[in-house]
Every structure is written in C-alpha cells, then in structure tokens.
Symmetry: D2
Subunit: 335 residues, 4 copies
C-alpha cells in the first residue's frame, strides 16, 4: 500500500493523507477502486487522530482508496475555509483519478462530529459534491455555532441535489443532540434523497469505529450494537455504488432519489402530491380516481405515496399502470 | 412449550395466542421470563399471519414468553376497539403473570404497519402501557386515516409518559412514508424518551422478519441489512429490561428517559433549557456562567444539552459539578 | 403454529413433539417446508429440556417444520432402542410428509452430546438416513461407552453412504473430548462426505443454543463465538437443501460428496488416488504425466487431489480437461 | 500510520513491510499494541499480494501493529531458508518492541496456504515461537512436498511447546486437502494445545479475507460464512492475549494448554490418563475409585478427561476435590 501526506495549504496547516492500494496484477479484475475521504471531528478546534487512521482501516479492507483530510481548525476555522479545504481535496482526488486508480464518480465522504458537519456541508452546498456521505454523530443543525460561530446550518441547505447519506449517532449523545440527525433526515425526506440511518440507544459522543483500541470500553457500558455502523456503512456504499465486478463495479441496487419527482418527465414513480401540482397530471389522476371505487377526491389520497404504489395498493392491473406511466412520461416535469 | 388460543372478544373475533416456555427445573436460574405481545399488521383490515408466528420465534429463542393479539379489524376496526383489545390483552398478561411466569414490569409490545400504529397507541395513550415498544414500518402519523379513518395520530400523543421505543423501517417504503418514523422520533426526542432506530436504505413494505420463508427474496433486491432488526431489537430489549441473571434479570443498562427533566427534583442531568425555565435554577446557572470564561449569557448556551455535559465540555472540575448537583437537588421540578 | 405430542412407544416412554407451521395462504410461495428432527442430550439417562424447545425456535424462525424426539433412556437405553426410536420418528415424518407439508427429502437431524451420538448413528447406520445431520458436542467415538455401554462407536460406521454433517464443539469440553469430533471428521474426509465444522476455543459442555436464557452466562467466561453455530447451521442447511424459492426450494449450492469417487462412472472430479486404482484410468493418467513437464510418476502426484484441480494447477488447457473427462466418463467406477 | 519496507536479506529478496499505528496522545490508554506477522501464500514460488495488504487491514482496525514478511521463494525456497526468514523477522519485531510500541509477548503469526505451512513451522519448530498462530488453508502435512520438496511435515513437529492455533479452511479445497487441517488439530489435541477451528462447507482455495475486492465473487458460489474467519480470528486473539485495557491488555480468558498435563506439578486438571502414568497419582486415583460407587478400575475411566471433570460428573463434593488437588500438587510432574 502506498502511503503519503500531501500538503494542501501550508499556511492553514491543511494536509491530505493518502492510502492507495494496488490494482491489476494479482487483483486482475480490479482495475480501479471506489474511494472515501475521511473528515475527522474535533469541534473545529483540532482534527482527531481517533477519527482518522482507525476509520481508514475498514474501508481499505473493503477495497477502497482512502484519503484523510486534516482541514482548517482553530484560528483558521472561519467559514468557508474548511469547505474550501474539502473542495480542494475532492478536486485533487478526481483530477488524479487515473493515476490513483479511483472511480471518479464513486467517491464518498465520511465525517464525525464537527467533521460530520463538514461532510454534510459537502453533501449539500459543495461545488464538488461527493457521491455519497456518511455522517457520524454530526452537528448538522445550528448547534454547530457552539463550536464554530461562522459555520452554516446544513439542515437548511438540503435540497434535491444533496447526495445520498448514511447517518449514525446515539440517542443520548450529550454533546451533539439527536435532533441534528433527525432534522437532517427530515430534510432529506422532503427532497426524496436516499438515506440509511442507525441511531443506537446509548453511548458516548466520539466513539469513532468503537473498536476497543479506539474507544475505551473499560469505564462504562457501551451499546453493543454501535460497532455495526462500520460494516453497515460498507454495505450501504456497495448498494449505492455497486460491488466489485469483472473489471468494473456491478450495477448499484439503490437509486439516489427514492421517487421520480426530480426527473425531466413525470412518471408513476412521482409522488401523488407532486403530480397534482401539474395541471395535466392532475387531470389524469382525477379521471383515474373517478373510474375507481375509491371515495373522496385526489386531494384525499396519501400525498407522499407514489402513484405506482397507490395503484398497486388498490389492485390496479399492471397494464393500466404501464399505460398511465406512458401518458405521464409525455409531460415535462417543471417545478 | 405450552400453546393455546384464548378468545378475548367473540363478537369482534379477537384472540390471544399464547406461547409459554418452561421455567425452573433444568432452567433453574430462570424463575420467570420477560414477555412480548405481537400486534400483526394488515391495514386494520386483517391480522397478517406473516407478522404473527414468524415474529414469535426469535423472541421465544431469546427466552421470552410470547403472545399474539389478533385485534378488531374490518367492520370492527372503529377506534378505540383495537386499543381496547390491546388493553384487555395486556391486563390479562399482567394479571396472569404469576401463573404464566412473566415479569409483569417487563412486557414489551411489537407491532407492524397498522399493528405498529396500534403499538404506538399502546406506547402513548394506553392506560396499561407496555414497558417497551417495537414499531416496524408503522403508520404512526395521520396517514393512518388512509386505512382506518377513525384511528388517531399517535405522533401527537407522545408525551413524557411514553415508553421507550425501537423503530425500524425502510427509507423507500412505498406504502407507509418514512416521515411516520421520523416524526415519531422527533416527538420522542422532545420528551426525552429513550429510543433506538434503524432505517434501511431500501426494501418492500411488510417484510416482517425478512426471513426467506416469510419475505420472498427471489423477485427483487432487498437490502441485506434488514434482517438485522430482529437481533438488534432483542439486544435493545435486554438493554432496557436487563439480561437473564441468577433468579432474576440483571440490572438494565439503559434508562427510559435520557435526561432528568421529568424527575421530581432538578439535577445537573436536566437540560439547560429545562433548568432555565425555573427561576432558582436560572439564578444558579447565571452565577456559574459569570464565573466561567464563556462569552454570552445562559440563553446562548446549547439549550438541549444537559448541564453536566456542558460543564464537562468546559472542563469544570468534578467537585464543582457535584456541588451544583446538590444545590439543584433541593429545587422541586415543577413544569 | 400447530403443536402436538405424539406417543411413539408407550412402554419406553418415547414421544415425538411436533411444531408445524402454516403453508400457502399468506405464505403463497411456500407450499412445503424442510424439516429438522431434534435429539436432545443427557447421557442416555434423560432427554434434556435445555436441548429441546430452545433448539426448535431458530429452525422454526428459519421456516422449518420442527420435531423433537424424546428417545429411550435409562433402563430403556439398551442399543438399538434409541436408534429404533429414531427410525420410527423419521419414518413417520416422511410418511406424513404430505399432511405435514414437509419436503420428505429435506429432513435434517440435530443432536447434542449423547443425542449427538444418536444423530451420528442416524447419519451412518440408520436404514432411514436423514438428509443432513448436525452434531453438537457429540460423543461420536467409543467414549459413548462411558454413558451407554451398549452404544456403538459411530466413527467406525462412517462410509460413503453417510449423509453430510455439520459439527460443532468446544476445544476444552471436559466431558466429551474434542477427539470425538476430530475423528468423525477424519472419517468423513476419507469417504468424501461433505461437512462443515466449528470448534470454539473454550466453553462448557452442554451449552445448547448458548442463549442467556438456556446457558447461564453469569458464572464464567464463555467464548463469544459459540452462539454463531445456530445461524451458521441454518446457512449450511440452506447450502445443502436450497433456500426458499417460488413454490419450491432453490437448487442446492453444495453437493453431498466433494468428489466423484462414488459416482457410477469415473471423471476428472475423482481423486487421483482413486483413479489410479483403476487400470484403464491409470493408463490415461500415465500418458498425461508423460506428456507434461512434471517430474516423477503418477504415484508421486498428490493422491487426494482431484484430477481436475491437478490439471488446473499445472495450467492444462480447458479443452484437454474436457477431453480427458470424456474418456474417463466411459470407464465404470467399480470399487 | 507509519509504513516502511525493511530489507531483511537482499540476496534472497526477503523484506519486512511494517505498518505501525500511534500510541499515547489521543490513544492515551493504549501505550503499546499486540502485533501480527503476516506470511502470504504462493506455493513457495511467490508471496501473494492478495494475502498481504488485504490481510493487514482488519488487524490494523483491531488495534494491532502489523508486519508482512515476504520470505524466500522460488530458487531460494530451500528449507530452512523460509523459516530462517521468519526467525529473523520475529527477532527484529521483539528487539524493536519498545521503539515500535509492541507487546513483545503478544505477537501472533498468520499464514495462508504455503505461508500457512511456514506459520505452522513457526508455531512448532521455531526458536522464536509466536504467541499464537493463525493457519489459513495451510499445507501442514507432507503434501507440502508437492510445492517445496525440502519443506518438513509440520504435523509431526507438534509437541507440548507448540503455541495456540486458529485454523480455518474449506472442506472441498481442491489444492490443499482438508486432512492437513484435521491432522494438525489431532496433533494439537494430543499435546493439550489450545486451538479454535472453522472449516467451511465449500469454497475455492486462496480466498484470503474473502472480501469482494480480493476474491472474485462473480464467477461461482462461495460459502457465505467464509468471511467470518476474519472477525472470529480477532476475537480469538483477544481471548488468548486479552483485550485493550487501561494502559495494558486485560487478562486473557483462554489458556494456551487445556489441561495441566505439562505443568511442573500434578493437579486435578491433569487428564486421568496422564495421572495414571505416575505411580503416586495412580495410588490416589485407585483409592478414590474404591471409595466411589463406580464399577471397574481406574483404567476403565475415560483417559482423556481431567480428574476434576470426572469428579464433577460423579458428583464428588467440592471440598474433596480441593483436597485431592492438594495431594496431587505435591507430586512432581515428570514425563
């Protein structure tokens, strides 16, 4: 494994540690690898070593190229310095994708605590978005002001362009309130963004991988399920990126948006609420409603259900669903 | 194992299936067992067999006494019929606790989909609350009106008396929107209720245990992490109830409330926001704030953090924390 | 779930407990189920409840029809009484396969300690063999004489007709020495029988499922990996039987014999040692050896390697392997 | 993480790759780390990259210092060259233990295939034995001659000084026959050496960690349980070495010998067979036998059972066991 530390910004003390694994040769069917960029926590006052190397190891095992960004902290933490550091790192990774054997459209980011805030900022407001983001006990909401007054609320920044997210935290985290995770998920839900989330019943802030060499297990009870986030996040990345196939990654099994609300044209996989905002689609749904035995008007239907699911639920025949889908497919999706 | 079906309400076709395991004898250190009451789903139109027996098995394996309630559906689903059925079942289990070798204060409820709604109603508005509730892809919000117009929104019903909850669902559930789980968690958060939650990236509605004999795996991709909820829920129940010890359950490692906001007297384990609502406590915090180097007033502090955590964060000495705790402990907690 | 106790032999106090799950209806793609017959341990002096019901639960969860045989013990334990009890139970299960919705060629047996001896006897010397056998800390060798002087050594009974086995135990089992498992595996190896095995570093005899409600965890250290045998055995049964498919079990991915040494005709999947015992095959191998660059004669080749693997190892072209296979396929396999 | 390649023997092209993690600082309770030395496979013709870096990652995650030895192969593979390379590497690791922050008495070795042979040689015949050995689909027996005619049979080399072993392989490994693992375990059993073992039903030779980036999963069925060996081996090492504690490793929960047969003085934790070889001990056992109701002589007792276990089994009182233990403790254990 090749290992190196690249200075990104000398005056702000920003570095990128790179861990690059071999491709080809004995790994003949692996010409490139997906990648992950680690953003350690530390309240924008330092970059914790506990959330740096120990986090690299499981993703290296899973076959990733791994990068650790030590971004601007303390005197240099004024926004948007940290986000600029991220942009620089992500640009470099993608620019060097060929040399570093990285799939440039399969680069995830993972951040913890304040680093989780930065990862959420990357996922929502960066110019060079990651392809997936893992947010560990992150300060996604306005609570971030408590450690960095200049840092923005990332919950407000979620929109349809936000990348898929994997969120984990503990319910009783005393430092970063669980509402940070909940509010962020609620925003992702609003914009149809794919996500997965694991909130463990109890445990300390800052557990990192929760390996016994990183999080001291001798002092207190720690919820035994916490370490599962590591393997679960790897499984999730595989769902979003595709697993290792013959000379390429296999097809992903999970889409970045859970509905078609943000596609160019309408479909039965848009939500009913979304379709009803379009006059032509509303006319189609109204006609369908009149034909069915359902009582009430289209506005009484469950607005956040997709039309396909609603028709399945009502036992509508597959051929009719296909026909409706074709009709909707001719309507441009302007929002 | 003793197995029996008890008719609870003949006219409404309500039954309680009981699966009772042995105690004593070769299980000499197990004089009683915790219990779980299963509420299958089915849109208040039927009680699904897929969410009945198959759900019983893992809890039986984990040492529980297991009960399955087939509650009022279809013509009988008018609220509060289903909740009354629950009350009747829970009363019976606790009344028979001695005969059935059940720890009467360790009875959980688990519900799926519409049964998840009923379990959430039990957790929030029942007279005979369960000691813990597991809610699988439950219809906790007003969406329940789509399948039972008379059923109440349980999100609104969450308060400080709600029991601890374990919540699982899939992000792209097409039938029950993820907001049902998110909104419920947000309400639990508000009232300091302990919970754990697992939202899987994708998968069909109604997967039950997701065993291959219950959920057909041959037709579509199913998120490989879904089946984990079963063992995770068993681990969580052990955290809340305590594991099997010598002639009793061991002490629980997780408390039902994550702060002391609802205790009889104040403490440093109350949130700052809560303490500031009390004049005497506000005076103490204001004095502390003035003594510390922190800028801003007490109202600028992170309101949902406990005072203990905030003092830890600021490096306040343990003896001072103990002293403050004693002072607060003399103040009655009226809210 | 239907539950019943059938008396098989009143004078010897032999019973069969049956746990039958539903098929069809909401389990529309499950018309039948595989089955497992549980043989509890107890030194042929009793049938332990700890290795009866608690063992049933995980296989019920996995979709099996489950049977528990309480066989002849104490005064009635004279061989072949226990084996006859087994034969009677297995005959009944297969005779009732249609009524009980059982795949009659997918019936496993699982036994513990002395019950592991009986399961091994079923696997090796029964007239009505199971389709797979799970042997938990079993007394497979002559040590069985210590608890039942009339019981036979099952290691000696292994032959080519023995069914596939899954074997688990602990290294430091003080009651049943690990050599029982090792010697049995060595015998299975000799006859090319498929098996899987897990020997855990340490732990008490008789842990059953090792659930905390069955095996007291409060008194001593217990190897944390022990409980894995349960899910591993379920995965193994699926490998041997095939998982639940549409109206049938999917194709099995693991064969009952690991080579073709016991097929009607020879093939490249026979071991070299086996092929060399046949004059015609020996001639073919000798010719091949002469053509290759390998030094030494055919008798210097690794005798327990299959010819296919040896040719792969030497880089022989696939088309030549196919040709050799055709030649061997014309030679009858007499042994 | 510090990474470096040290040349151990230039003429034979032997190198040691070192991966050293931080101690102290943010890892304040971790002043040193246990270590593992990786020996890749490759038939003594090469050192496979697939069994080098990918194997390092999980042990790094688990908190280990990791070393990879590329030993003498091809023209240099003449025995004892590879073993000498091992001795040199192990000596260096222990000599540098202080500088490299390694617990010098907690250094494991792991080897695969031919590297498994070398690891087994280290465990049995090295001057500088490892403290534990992990043997993956290793060529422990005389089959090693097939790839290195000069290499010794390590099964024959097992004795009372062999270190504890963790053994894994697949039942149908076509290249290295399962008997290699079985015969090695049988030898370990004879000399009371602690071990753990996992033999998976089926799978290819050379799967390494079985991660999808190392072992191509697209071509064939691979037993789904294979990857478990990685975490299981980490758990086993923790059992043998002790987990991370406050400034030291916690006490180990598993002993290197499963009986006291090799202690300086006799005890009730020696096997009966061993005790009977000593005249004084034989006299004690004979007396005990006469006092008990057991039929037969001491030579009829199960010879490989410890006396403690046998007395427990017969219900002998604890105080008598203590007394017998004291008597035996005065007898020197000469063998």
């Amino acid at each position: 494994m090749r290992s190196e530390i690249i200075t990104l910004n000398k005056s702000r003390n920003v570095t990128l540690t790179i861990y690059l694994q071999s491709v080809g040769g004995e790994f003949s069917y692996v010409p490139k690898r997906p990648a992950i960029l680690i953003l350690p926590g530390g309240g924008y006052q330092f970059c914790s070593d506990r959330e740096a190397d120990p986090v690299a190891m499981p993703y290296l095992k899973a076959g990733y190229q791994v990068f650790i960004l030590r971004y601007s902290v303390q005197a240099h933490n004024q926004w948007p310095n940290p986000l600029e550091d991220y942009e620089q790192a992500m640009c470099l990774i993608r620019a060097k994708a060929k040399e570093w054997n990285v799939y440039e459209d399969k680069v995830a980011v993972i951040g913890f605590s304040a680093g989780g805030h930065l990862a959420a900022a990357a996922a929502t407001m960066a110019e060079n978005k990651p392809n997936a983001a893992i947010l560990g006990y992150g300060v996604m909401g306005k609570d971030v002001k408590g450690c960095n007054a200049s840092a923005p609320d990332t919950v407000d920044a979620v929109d349809q362009y936000t990348c898929p997210c994997f969120i984990f935290s503990t319910r009783d985290d005393g430092l970063v309130h669980i509402d940070n995770s909940l509010d962020f998920m609620k925003a992702l839900s609003k914009y149809q963004i794919a996500f997965e989330s694991h909130i463990y019943a109890f445990g300390p802030h800052g557990f990192s991988t929760c390996d016994a060499s990183v999080q001291n297990h001798n002092n207190r009870d720690i919820c035994s399920r916490i370490p599962n986030w590591v393997e679960d996040s790897i499984g999730w990345l595989q769902d979003m990126f595709g697993g290792f196939g013959e000379g390429k990654l296999n097809e992903a099994v999970c889409k970045p948006h859970v509905t078609d609300n943000y596609k160019a044209f309408l479909s039965v996989d848009c939500t009913i609420g979304h379709l009803l905002m379009n006059a032509a689609a509303r006319a189609i749904l109204t006609y369908l409603r009149e034909q069915s035995q359902g009582s009430g008007t289209v506005d009484d239907m469950v607005q956040n259900m997709t039309l396909r699911e609603a028709m399945h639920w009502q036992g509508v025949k597959e051929e009719i669903i296909v026909g409706v889908n074709e009709q909707l497919g001719r309507i441009e999706n302007r929002i």
